[in-house]
Amino acid sequence: MNEEHLKLSKDLLSHGVGVIAAAGYINNEGGQAIADAAMELMGQGCGTLLIDLEGTRIINSIGVSILLEIMEKLLEERGRLAFCNLTPTIAKTFEIMGLVQYASIYPDRQTARAELGIQT
């Protein structure tokens, strides 16, 4: 099944902005892979993290709970967390679990880049 393995890429842009693109199933392993990438970017000076979930259609609450931990760490460092390209179900899941109270949600990467002031 294509969704089973998470495809992940990360990039540290200028001004401490990091972007993680994740496509696939966000379960405990997928969530941990995103967390590891986030920690690496934060270690390199990333204070604003954008997670692009284009290509992710299935998540579970264990994976989202790991995303909550990333958010907690970023907020401890006075950082910002944002998401883009969420399906309606994933957006609703984030809302139910409380991520949207602390993270910004954008419809697509272009909007996110503009709103976060990310240079192209």
Binding site: M1, E3, E4, Y25, N27, R57, I58, I59, N60, S61, I62, V64, S65, L68, E69, M71, E72, L75, T87, P88, T89, K92, T93, E95, I96, M97, G98, L99, Q101, Y102
Partner: protein, 138 residues
């Protein structure tokens, strides 16, 4: 139309149930957003069954008609120790940050993402029954 899956406890087996929901929901003409909501709900039900059921689970999918409206019925059955459904949902998202445990969202998500949910649980058998209407109606 009915699908019955006997699923062992192996990593990511919940995706088999999600794929079955996707296929059956699509065959019924359910819109993608509704199929995805039902898929996440069945994933959560399977994870609960695996975590608390202590063994293989059975997932049944079927189509029903309720007051002329078609709906997908998803049942997830396990044979674990059971629990008290009325005391098992998280109260809300207000105290997420700072909590040592961020787990325990499964039943809350199931209830929010599905149109109707019934849970029967006793020692030896838990049955989660959940419905998603094909069309989003009033």
């Amino acid at each position: 139309m009915e699908v019955v899956l006997h699923l062992p406890v192996v990593p990511n087996v919940e995706l088999v149930a999600a794929k079955a929901v996707e296929t059956m929901g699509g065959a019924l003409g359910m819109k993608r957003n509704r199929v995805e909501a039902a898929s996440v709900a069945v994933v959560e039900a399977c994870l609960n069954a695996m975590e608390h059921g202590g063994g293989p689970m059975v997932v049944r999918l079927s189509c029903e008609v309720e007051d002329t409206r078609r709906r997908l019925l998803i049942e997830v059955e396990d044979h674990g120790g059971g629990f008290r459904p009325e005391t098992s949902s998280r109260a809300g998202s207000t105290r997420v940050l700072g909590c040592a445990s961020k787990r325990g969202w499964g039943l809350t998500l199931i209830r929010e993402l599905m149109d109707e949910v019934q849970i029967r649980s006793q020692p030896g058998m838990t049955l989660v029954r959940m419905w998603k209407y094909v069309e989003n109606g009033a």
